[in-house]
Symmetry: C2
Subunit: 336 residues, 2 copies
């Protein structure tokens, strides 16, 4: 076994770097104990979600401070995104850090900085966790805890025929961004501005915290779009025992993706099946649509209506000529 | 990046194997959503702890159903052990499963069986989690959630001079068991019974759930012994700003370890610095010691008084001649 003798110096460094992230949460005990104490806000239920991000699977990591920061930000973002999708307000998170088998940990401050930025963006605090040495690369597991007023969590399973399908933001940016991260020549010539926009969308997902109140008040069902819009819509439909019609030409695209579609570097179905967007997909009853849109506008979150829930099982994707598009790849999963 | 196309079959198998573990916890939503909904029992605070176990670092794994079951049982055990040490009643857990990069997952049912056994032993339920493909071996991250009546969690940091040091069970079995797992000749000739006992202590830690009530009622401070008694005692002392005198000859040893000590195959200090016991170390005020012992006896948990907390910083380990023992290795840490 590879259990290694304690390194007090490294242990102390980790405590020093991460303990400040618990500020504002006395129950974290400054990371000096094996556990954290947490009180659910009065009258509220807790919402828990957990996601692991593995180097070379879910994020790129070259040992730099910048990529460590991006990885941390993303690890927190994908968990907060799940809280948002359930209409929960972020509260605290636990972090398990698996250090690479070998090499320096000079990037540890960068990692903490990424978490610090996420905490600041989404009002969430580090409560506790664990650090181990692994046998491969860096891995980050976050358990995020949010809260909702009793019985107001929005689930996947309650989409109903007639509900309108809503997405936040723009779709397909992150998967194109990943390709640009991997090769700057991925799409031939791309302006620096467009390349940076797409890479940022991949590296720094921004959970749509502003939509929480609108979801809680008006949505029948919601989930975040992590593995591609079509695949995630199928999952919502399966959980709800319904189907959906997705109108491809109504799906909002960013200007850089629209340019790539126009230049035939990216197909529309690529955008609809690309993962890592962390936008929100919601089903909203038609009579609540106006109020939902108004609440979203008030919160500064752009939304678009992209289709509707139908009783017939299965998801059909319709082009602007009204015909169904042929979809060969529906999305990506982090599980092979 | 190694993001792989979705395998519906594998995804479905994981859901089928793990969803039954959520029985009794409606907020788990049968693992059909991205999050779990949890209500804190009325008037109680939640206690959260998180531990990652990595193949070849924290457990042995040869791809067999048996070792998968052992790994799962241990992953849950070490987390429940942290809850016990805080005097918390187990409630639910989240599981993030990182599958090995390659190979079959025929052992997945064994993994679920190990969790099922732990759930049954410690009255805890699966609430949710995540499954990803990693780039190396199997890794299991558990976030365990327990509850305590308001302000009754027992922390590391409140040990006070004069408190008596208590340990549950026997010390040093698991580290000897690991050596037997690695080589059946580790200690020369060892009876089959002794070998099996020691291996089981390593592979199947048993959190001392019975001691929760006694800790909550009487202990000043507590923690579980995961990295070796001496090292963990030092940590409790450091957190409390105190020192301790540990009387080595009062530390309870199992009959197999006592035989190994008698045969000079294991030194007493090996036992005191061996990790993975998951027994409880507690500091109990002298005037509460009788009641604590009575409560432990009532709960069927064996305990022993092994020393006391002193005002002078540092831990001294005293032999049966009253002289300090020389300690070169205080314990093992999972972080190198």
């Amino acid at each position: 076994m590879a259990e290694l003798p304690k390194s007090d110096a490294e242990q102390a460094m980790i405590a020093r770097v991460f303990a400040p992230l618990t500020a504002g949460l006395p129950g974290a005990l400054g990371l000096t104990d094996d556990a954290a104490i947490l009180s659910a806000p009065s009258g509220r239920q807790l919402v828990l979600t957990m996601d692991t991000l593995v180097q070379d699977v879910h994020f790129l990591f070259d040992g730099s401070v910048q990529q460590a920061s991006d990885a941390a930000y993303k690890a927190l973002a994908v968990n907060v995104s799940d809280l948002v999708a359930k209409a929960a307000d972020p509260l605290a998170y636990m972090l398990s850090l698996t250090l690479p088998a070998v090499g320096s940990t000079d990037w540890l401050e960068g990692l903490a900085e990424g978490f610090r930025q996420g905490q600041s963006d989404w009002s969430i605090h580090l409560a506790g966790g664990d650090t181990v040495r692994g046998t491969s690369g860096l891995a980050l597991t976050v358990t995020a805890i949010g809260s909702v007023p009793q019985e107001t969590a929005v689930l996947r399973r309650n989409a109903r025929p007639g509900d309108r399908l809503i997405v936040t933001g723009t779709i397909g940016d992150a998967s194109a961004g990943l390709q640009v991260c991997q090769s700057s020549e991925a799409f031939g010539h791309l302006s620096r501005t467009d390349a940076d926009f797409l890479k940022n969308r991949y590296q720094r997902p921004r959970p749509k915290l502003g939509i929480v109140e609108a979801l809680r008040t008006y949505a029948s069902a919601a989930m975040d779009i992590s593995d591609g819009l079509i695949l995630d819509l199928e999952r919502m439909c399966r959980a709800s025992g319904v189907g959906a019609c997705l109108r491809a030409h109504q799906v909002p695209l960013s200007a850089p993706i629209q340019r790539l579609v126009n230049n035939q570097k990216v197909s529309l179905t690529d955008a609809l099946s690309g993962g890592d967007d962390y936008e929100i997909l919601a089903a909203v009853p038609p009579d609540a649509l106006g109020a939902f849109a108004e609440a979203a506008r008030h919160a500064g979150v752009s939304i678009a209506e992209v289709g509707e829930i139908i009783a017939t099982l299965g998801v059909s994707v319709v082009g602007d000529d009204g015909n169904s598009l042929s979809i060969t790849r529906k999305g990506w999963d982090h599980l092979g």
